[in-house]
């Protein structure tokens, strides 16, 4: 049962396994749900999807697999009053068009078709009622009428009364793309610094033996436990010459967000100036002051820049050099400030290392981050992480 469904889910990148399939069958067997399409949708969603970022994808697959199967299932077609149909037809067809229809076939025949189409609308959904009520936004559209038959918006997906899974309410959650990030993940693990921080909750055996020997009585020593205490600020270059690398950068980012507890990311364009932003769509309305960042995050944060560092040298060295706005202080000043606050700073450059020497700005940036520029390769990441780990704040 539903093998096709599971296959489609897997094809869409939802990690549906045999185990989950069995759970779904077991749940159906035990009559967990009432036999309605909605309940089945909810149940299969709770079974297969374990990450809200995948909910939207699930909705799409569900729609694809069960389209047409569920509409005729368990629901009574709507009875549409004859006079209403007539009214609708009159509203949307000009008298000339009506005459033409009548020429082509009997009025009854056309009404029959129209009725059938309308019955395809889902009865239970409220949208169906609205659809009738708000005649102003015509579901028929311009092509609502066609001499070869009455075609109604029912064919087109977005004009139909939407089912739950067709609303795609979780669309905006799907920002986690983690494809092919395994390699990067391995390298980023280097960043986990097993600093001993936190409560003293582990018995320090060596210390205890030592203390006991010295004191002459049992002297128990405790120590803090190992855990991942790496804090990271990530600055991503977006737009402009960076666009070919966006995909690579996104992969790096999605890998990084899973690795650290304390991870903050910001976007910038070409060079760091007085403001950065968190949401690229709102880059002008929602800026974060770079000063705020310098003040807010402590010296122990490790800073990773990701960008191609390819720009006009003036964008770094001169006030007002930015291509997007007038910057009162040069990018250089800001880079120096940042490097001063965060000794552990690296720049990861997606451009192949061979090409760096051709661009003057790359050289300047490399100097500004203390020579710590690395290519976006496994080896380069490895080196970058080692550099960050090496530096004690």
């Amino acid at each position: 049962m539903f093998f096709n469904f599971v296959d489609e889910l897997r094809a869409a990148g939802i990690p549906a396994s045999f185990k989950e399939h069995l759970v779904l069958l077991e749940a159906l067997d035990k009559d967990v749900i009432e036999q309605t399409p909605e309940a089945f949708y909810y149940l299969s969603r709770a079974t297969f999807v374990k990450d809200e970022g995948l909910l939207d994808r699930f909705d799409q697959v569900f729609n694809k697999v069960f389209k047409g199967l569920l509409t005729s299932y368990g629901q009574n077609p709507v009875d549409i009053p004859e006079d209403w149909l007539k009214a609708v037809a009159e509203k949307f067809l000009t008298p000339e068009e009506m005459a033409e229809i009548e020429k082509l076939g009997s009025w009854e025949e056309i009404m029959e078709t129209l009725k059938k189409r309308l019955e395809e609308q889902e009865k239970r959904h409220q949208g169906g009622n609205k659809w009738i009520g708000t005649g102003g936004t015509s579901p028929y559209g311009n092509s609502g009428y066609n001499p070869e038959g009455v075609r109604i918006g029912g064919e087109s997906k977005h004009k139909r009364a939407l089912k739950v899974w067709e609303k795609r309410e979780f669309q905006n959650l799907d920002n986690t793309r983690e494809l092919g990030t395994r390699n990067i993940k391995i390298a980023l693990r280097r960043l986990r610094r097993f600093a001993r921080e936190g409560h003293l909750d582990e018995l320090d055996i060596e210390g205890t033996i030592d203390g006991t020997a010295r004191q002459g009585w049992l002297d128990i020593r405790m120590r803090a436990e190992r855990r991942n205490a790496v804090k990271v600020l990530l600055f991503l270059d977006v737009g402009g010459s960076m666009d070919p690398f966006i995909k690579l950068v996104e992969e790096l980012f999605s890998a990084a967000s899973a690795e650290f507890k304390n991870l903050e990311f910001f976007y910038f364009h070409n060079c760091l100036y007085e403001g950065v932003w968190k949401d690229n769509k709102r880059r002008w309305s929602e800026r974060t002051q770079t000063w705020d960042i310098l003040h807010k995050y402590g010296h122990d944060y490790k800073v990773i820049f990701v960008g191609d560092a390819a720009m006009s040298p003036y964008e770094i060295t001169h006030p007002g050099g930015s291509v997007e706005h007038f910057n009162e202080e040069s990018g250089q000043v800001w880079m120096q400030r940042l490097a001063h606050v965060y000794p552990a700073t690296v720049w990861i450059n997606p451009v192949p290392e061979k090409q760096w020497s051709y661009s003057q700005s790359t050289k300047i940036i490399k100097e500004l981050v203390g020579g710590n520029m690395y290519p976006l390769t496994l080896q380069g990441l490895d080196d970058a992480m080692r550099e960050l780990t090496r530096k004690k704040h």
Partner: protein
């Protein structure tokens, strides 16, 4: 066992009901995620109430170990007792402290076990609990006994998405994402909490509430629980209706905003917006 249909003071959406019933009937853990304040933890309380089961809460912190949920062997106390020549030292069982899972497995009445904020703990934490949650049994090595659940308890796990959970763990759970309630659901929630509340007040308050949520750059968006607190305050203060209706931009900050905005930067943001609105006029 009766189906979960929400309770007198908890509004459950259809998808939530299906997920809960699946988890309860199949006795698999239910993993609940969602924005803070959408009622993840409360859900476990309500399931317990609805099924008449006792609730065992395990609040996970960053230092929590999986082993602590099973049992802890207090070696330090035993060492100390050994030094003092205490009689108890001969029985190792005296130094075994039961964890929440143990409690849940041996509870005389079928319990609901809540593992709250599982993502707070170390990344390996969920993996360490795989076997125990799967088989509902574990071994106590010190005393060589096996603790097994007579009946699988109902397990509710909440997560705030601070860390990714391992696939092997996820595969064993049902999942539900509580999305932020839309207006209708919110209305139902308010009706449950404040029966007989003035309709116009609620509608005005919701207008303000959803407006506040829409403000870009807010550090912490107010959630359901905050709206409820705020309403309670408004009722207590007998706030006249026109204060909420007040569209005077100089007063862009809603009355008693302390209940909605929990971050001084957010309050400042609002003040700035108010200031800008004033300047525009």
């Amino acid at each position: 066992m009766a189906r979960f249909e929400g309770t007198a003071n908890y509004v459950a959406t259809d998808d939530l009901k299906v997920a809960v019933n699946a988890a309860v009937l199949l006795r698999r853990p239910l993993l609940v995620k969602g924005e803070p304040g959408t009622g993840k933890t409360v859900l476990a309380h309500e399931i317990a109430k609805a099924t008449g089961a006792p609730l065992i809460e395990w609040n996970v912190k960053s230092t929590t170990k999986a082993q602590q949920g099973l049992y802890e062997y207090d070696a330090v106390a035993r060492l100390r007792d050994g030094q003092l020549g205490d009689e108890r030292v001969h029985d190792i069982a005296n130094y075994i402290k039961k964890g929440k899972l143990w409690e849940a497995f041996t509870s005389p009445q079928l319990p609901v076990l809540l593992i709250d904020e599982i993502d707070k703990a170390d990344i390996e934490f969920p993996n360490d609990l795989l076997q125990e949650l799967d088989r509902m049994s574990f071994d106590v090595y010190e005393t060589r006994e096996r603790i097994a659940a007579k009946e699988r308890p109902i397990v509710v796990i909440t997560s705030n998405n601070e860390k990714e959970l391992p696939d092997a763990f996820l595969r064993r759970c049902f999942f539900h994402y509580i999305k932020f309630p839309d207006r209708d659901t919110m209305q139902a929630i308010i009706d449950v909490h404040f029966p007989g509340i003035q309709k116009t007040l609620v509608s005005k308050a919701m207008d303000v509430f959803y407006e506040v949520r829409e403000v870009p750059g807010l550090k912490k968006k107010p959630s359901t629980s905050e709206l409820l607190d705020w309403l309670k305050l408004l009722l207590n203060e007998d706030m006249p209706l026109d204060v909420l209706q007040n569209k005077d931009p100089a007063k862009a900050i809603p009355p008693l905003h302390g209940a909605l905005l929990k971050n001084e930067q957010d309050v400042m943001l609002f003040e700035r917006l108010a200031f800008m609105a004033r300047r525009q006029n």
